[in-house]
């Protein structure tokens, strides 16, 4: 892992992640997560669903951001180093691969990139049926954006808007920093379980060593998620075809969490 994905995956990264439990608070309130074993099942399910969606979109965003960064550099040099690349993202962003022939490569790229970011955002929304989860994802994106602008300045963030989905932003930052899509995917897949695991430690007073061991036992599942995410992001010609696994209970837990306003709530999600 490069420094960028390490820092973004660090629990001490100041992006507002510590106030989100990823559904654990509601699951604990309902007795669905009670101990280390039930937490293990919860995390595995979350990793393979919300985690996979986030990882695939982060990988796609990393590719798109890296390309945008390249295109800008290319324009400055007046040549197109990537013109022969048959990558799916270029194909999508530029039908018939015509963009290399454009008089203003960067200008054409900007319009195409803008559409591609919009498509990623809309498709991520579509894979997040719970409004509470969309809010949580965008709240973390907004918080992360504040930290990110200070550390990794780039015009790419303007494409993402003021409240980007967290996975897209993390992917973009990794791409901008020159890290491969795999690291972006690993970072958000890990965050999909590390945050909820930490929330469970705080809420249930679980043994932190046991919970840490659970995270490490998830490694094969995490590797599989990362591999699928990277593969699909690289070989999917249209954004609509990125993975869309769902975990209805997570959606329902997220909705229930915000619905019960009167109740004790320590986490924002």
């Amino acid at each position: 892992m490069g420094l960028t994905s390490l820092v973004l995956a660090d629990a001490r990264f100041p992006g507002g992640g510590h106030v989100h439990s990823g559904g654990v608070e509601e699951a604990v309130a309902r007795g669905l997560v009670q101990d280390v074993e039930t937490l293990r099942g919860f995390l595995l399910g979350r990793l393979r669903t919300a985690g996979l969606v986030a990882a695939a979109f982060a990988a796609a965003a990393a590719r798109l951001a890296a390309r945008g960064t390249d295109a800008r550099g290319t324009d400055a040099r007046g040549t197109d180093a990537r013109g022969t690349d048959t990558d799916a993202w270029a194909a999508q962003a530029s039908p018939a691969g015509a963009w290399a022939a454009q008089a203003s490569v960067a200008g054409a790229w900007a319009a195409q990139a803008s559409r591609a970011w919009g498509a990623l955002d809309a498709e991520f929304d579509a894979r997040t049926p719970s409004q509470a989860q969309r809010e949580a994802s965008r709240a973390q994106g907004r918080g992360t954006l504040r930290a990110v602008r200070a550390a990794w300045p780039s015009p790419v963030y303007d494409e993402l808007g003021p409240r980007p989905h967290h996975a897209l932003l993390v992917g973009a930052v990794c791409g901008i920093a020159g890290e491969p899509p795999e690291e972006a995917a690993r970072c958000v897949a890990y965050l999909a379980v590390s945050g909820p695991a930490s929330a469970a430690v705080r809420l249930l007073g679980l043994d932190p060593f046991a919970v840490n061991a659970v995270l490490i036992h998830l490694e094969p599942a995490l590797d599989a998620v990362v591999e699928t995410a990277v593969h699909t992001a690289a070989h999917t010609a249209v954004t609509e075809d990125l993975p869309a696994p769902g975990a209805p209970v997570l959606d329902l837990l997220a909705q229930a969490h915000v619905a019960h306003r009167g109740r004790l709530r320590l986490f924002a999600s």
Binding site: P14, G16, S21, Q131, A199, R202, L252, A259, L264, F267
Partner: protein
């Protein structure tokens, strides 16, 4: 489970997508911003009571709003709303994920979001008071979150508290020793408390007060107005 909704049984979780509002979309952030003052201190020392006093005594003159950071509930926010100290839309409650000090010091994101939400909602705010969750003597606000901070300790917590020091007591821009009316009842020596506090804080100000005797928090109010005059408005 308990979510019975009128046709004889309860669902585990009710989920009606039509119940929800539209997704929130951000307004363009207002230019310029309010002065931000943090109010920290141990549990029960009188932070919310001070916020309420300031809102009552300054609310007419200063366009203000409040962010609360309760550890467990929205108790503080509800108190301020219920007592009609401030209109409900001027109070935002932040969840701190069981870590009140993290939310004001290490990762201030949730609080900044709440402040910016209030600034966007009102546009012309002059002052935002941020009440931290009740915490220990080491909790201080990040300079990235507030322009100035008040640390509130409580006479009933014992007259040893200022002597113990810690970043809150030592470095806060204002130390308030609250509940002086209770000193005789708990055998606290006010001279010891103020003496220790001024010795440990050097030139930084210390105010002793009782909100029972002075519900308007007159001296602290004057200090806050001074901050409004001298903290350069950042944008």
């Amino acid at each position: 489970m308990s979510d019975d909704h009128g046709h004889g049984h309860g669902h585990l979780i009710s989920f009606d997508p039509t119940e929800t509002d539209h997704d929130h979309h951000e307004a363009t952030p207002a230019s310029g911003r309010a002065v931000r003052i943090g109010i920290g201190g141990p549990v029960g020392s009188g932070k919310t009571a001070l916020v309420a006093a300031l809102a009552r005594s300054l609310g007419e003159r200063v366009r203000l709003a409040v962010v609360t950071n309760d550890i467990y509930t929205t108790e503080d926010a509800d108190f301020l709303r219920r007592n009609a100290v401030l209109p409900p839309e001027r109070v935002e409650a932040v969840q701190t994920g069981c870590c009140p000090h993290t939310a004001i010091r290490d990762d201030i994101t949730a609080n900044l979001d709440a402040i910016e939400t209030l600034e966007e909602r009102f546009g012309d705010l002059e002052l935002v008071l941020v009440e931290s969750g009740g915490d220990n003597l080491t909790a201080v606000f990040s300079r990235g979150l507030v322009d100035a901070q008040i640390f509130v300790v409580d006479v009933a917590g014992g007259d040893k508290v200022p002597r113990k020091g810690g970043p809150g007591v030592t470095t806060a821009d204002l130390l308030v020793i609250n509940k002086t009316d209770l000193a005789p009842l708990v055998g606290a020596n006010m001279d010891v408390m103020t003496g220790d506090a001024t010795r440990i804080r050097g030139a930084l100000p210390v105010i002793t007060q009782s909100l029972v005797e002075d519900p308007a928090a007159t001296e602290v109010g004057a200090w806050v107005l001074e901050q409004l005059a001298c903290v350069p408005a950042r944008s």
